[in-house]
Symmetry: C2
Subunit: 156 residues, 2 copies
């Protein structure tokens, strides 16, 4: 009685945004729990990961790599500086920029959690299947390379 005979839109389980959201929640919930023990949020962990992986960089690049907006990053870096997880120095060549680097303490945090993180993802890979995981990462990487920002009613 309460439903239309033909739903206007597809089932939420087959809705890409919702499926992606659920997947992230499925994957991240156990990790968040792990990280919380060190006072590191999911976002701070991403910042540490990116800096450890790619070295010092300015905030715009860091934001892009860690999938954070600049305003969020500003706040997070302030907290991370207070926690001595990262260090910031002005770029001498361009005083608008500041260069962020991971600190020794930041590396220690990564080293502390890397074994648990690795074990967790091994467990995930085992439960989900190696081939499936590879296929999923390939599909996500391809999706992320799409440019969907054209307007639907763009006449150009």
């Amino acid at each position: 009685m309460e439903n239309h005979d033909r739903p206007l839109l597809r089932r939420t389980a087959r809705s890409l945004p919702i499926a992606l959201l659920r997947a992230r929640e499925t994957v991240m919930a156990p990790l968040r729990e792990m990280l919380a023990e060190s006072g590191v949020t999911e976002q701070k962990w991403r910042v540490l990961r990116v800096l450890e992986e790619s070295g010092p960089m300015d905030q715009s690049l860091l934001a892009a790599e860690a999938c954070l907006q600049l305003p969020s990053l500003t706040r997070i870096l302030r907290a991370m500086e207070e926690q001595r997880l990262v260090e910031r120095r002005a770029d001498p060549a361009d005083r608008r920029r500041s260069i962020v680097a991971i600190s020794r303490h930041g590396r220690e945090i990564i080293e502390t959690h890397a074994p648990d993180s690795i074990a967790y993802f091994a467990r995930l890979e085992n439960a989900y299947g190696h081939d499936r995981l590879k296929a999923l990462l390939d599909l996500l990487e391809a999706l992320n390379e799409l440019d969907l920002n054209r307007n639907a009613d763009d006449n150009s």
Copy 2:
């Protein structure tokens, strides 16, 4: 100089949480823009979608279906009631529960945006490929059925 020779963890592009986050951002950014015109956030849209698809339900179920936590849902429903997008009534059989239903105005909002939404996803499907999209949804659905909440050092 700034990097380890062997990174402790995998490239962020091959990190499942980050790949999922980027994918969500890629897919949702254009949609958010569309919805903002009606004062509907991404989350309110999900609530409307679920209610339209499955009919009235209590908040716990709605939260699960719309991928929202109960505290968030409490706030969102308060706003949506003020916007007359949904209606809430106490469950006569169990006064702890309240049953939420989409309103006529809520349905109108869905009808307003359904064509754009459908066009957008058609565009996405076209750019990404029908088979890839199906494969991705299948893989995400399978991932979401995993139970990863065992503790890594669970001895049982």
